[in-house]
């Protein structure tokens, strides 16, 4: 009997602690919005963070996009060839990338490459009491540290996703047209006939903005909330990747069912 009660109490307390974290995360978001004006007075901080989250992620994004595009080209050709419609490979590659893979894979890579760096950096700043020192000097750590990283993530992520889609399509073009020998005119014209700007490309961009928001705010909150120990920071970094990935995939399902059905 007592055992059973303990199990129920454990469930309740874990639910409660998760709700508290969700509430604290939401509060952090509103604090960021409030302090954004202060942080934009020193726009150099945000630009510096765009360099670290965006520009330095460019290599991994471009390389993986090219490979994803090439795999799509190969796999798509294999299936479409059976139905004698290998010219539709351009449509397949473009729609898959612009609608789904571009935003989602970019967000997963972004969480791994930039999100972990943000969490570890902020967690370590907290552990070494740099954030407290700022508060003592009457500098708001939210305006100085958190808000620039938030806006940098929000700006970088859609740009990275757009680059991912474009490079992926070039990867598909490389395999389908240059290696396999699908007709180049059919590749591009079928793509243009079936990819709609306002439906497909803009919806993909909206997805990438939402994912950018989710990944960035999760990474920031995990860093801000990390226990100030080596173990706490390492756990927070792990949680960033896990929660960001799950959030991206879950949000992707919700957004897709809104947009394309």
């Amino acid at each position: 009997m007592n055992n059973l009660l303990n199990i129920i109490a454990g469930l309740g307390s874990s639910f409660r602690s998760k709700m508290i974290r969700l509430g604290a995360g939401t509060r952090l978001f509103f604090l960021i919005i409030i302090y954004s004006a202060d942080s934009f007075k020193r726009i150099g901080l945000t630009i510096r963070e765009i360099y670290f989250t965006g520009v330095l992620s460019l290599v991994i994004i471009v390389v993986s996009a090219f490979f994803v595009g090439m795999v799509l080209g190969l796999q798509g050709y294999y299936t479409l060839e059976k139905y004698g419609s290998s010219e539709a490979i351009g449509v397949l590659v473009a729609l898959a990338l612009v609608r789904e893979l571009g935003p989602v894979v970019t967000a997963l890579l972004f969480a791994g490459r930039a999100g972990t760096a943000i969490t570890a950096e902020i967690g370590l700043m907290k552990a070494t009491e740099q954030l407290s020192a700022m508060e003592v000097m009457a500098v708001s750590p939210i305006a100085r540290i958190i808000a620039p990283r938030f806006w940098a993530g929000m700006i970088s992520m859609p740009i990275l996703a757009t680059i991912f889609s474009m490079v992926g399509i070039l990867g598909g073009y490389f395999i389908a047209v240059l290696v396999i020998g699908v007709d180049e005119g059919a590749f591009w014209s079928q793509m243009q006939a079936n990819v709609d700007f306002s439906n497909d490309i803009v919806d993909g961009a909206i997805k990438s903005i939402v994912f950018g928001f989710a990944c960035t705010i999760i990474a920031l909150f995990e860093g801000f909330d990390a226990p100030p120990t080596a173990e706490g920071v390492s756990r927070a970094t792990t949680r960033t990747v896990v929660i960001s990935s799950l959030a991206v995939l879950g949000l992707d399902f919700i957004l897709t069912s809104f947009m394309f059905v």
Partner: protein
């Protein structure tokens, strides 16, 4: 790292992003090729539109001359009212035929316009009177089966 160098890299990053978006819009999507700017709208009544959807193509001799704007159901006459936006560069006689065709065997449905011989042209808000409904495959098959059956009865 120096401030200016950082700014340059971020600037390059943003420009690459914009270039990718431009590439998606023009090379991959149909933002430019499908830009029909000035249109006039005409209407057509159909008993059955099949799988016709808003934004479906309107073609004359295979050339895209417009788009389907909206499809509504008229509850007084019980037929579909299709509003068509036709490019201002193209004019059609009043007795133009509007038929619903299917692109390929299983493709999308579109409206095909076939010009008649009338001297006056369709103006904005006019009604295309001569229409032909979409072919519904089930109806065709059942007609075929009935005619087969009646042949065997004889």
């Amino acid at each position: 790292m120096e401030r200016t160098k950082l700014d340059i890299w971020v600037g390059i990053f943003v420009i690459i992003g914009l270039a990718a978006l431009f590439g998606l819009a023009t090379k991959v999507g149909n933002l430019i090729s499908n830009n029909i700017k000035e249109t006039y709208s005409v209407y057509a009544h159909f008993e059955n539109i099949g799988g016709l959807k808003p934004r479906a193509a309107v073609k004359a001799a295979g050339v895209v001359v417009g788009r389907v704007n909206s499809i509504i159901f008229d509850t007084e006459a019980y037929h579909a009212v299709v509003s068509i936006d036709v490019d201002k560069r193209y004019v059609f006689p009043k007795d133009t035929f509007a038929n619903i065709y299917t692109a390929g065997l299983l493709g999308e449905q579109y409206i095909g316009l076939e010009a008649g011989g009338d001297m006056t042209n369709l103006a904005a808000g006019d009604l295309i009177t001569q229409t032909q409904d979409a072919v519904v495959l089930e109806k065709l098959i059942s007609q075929f089966l009935y005619s087969k059956a009646s042949e065997e009865d004889k």
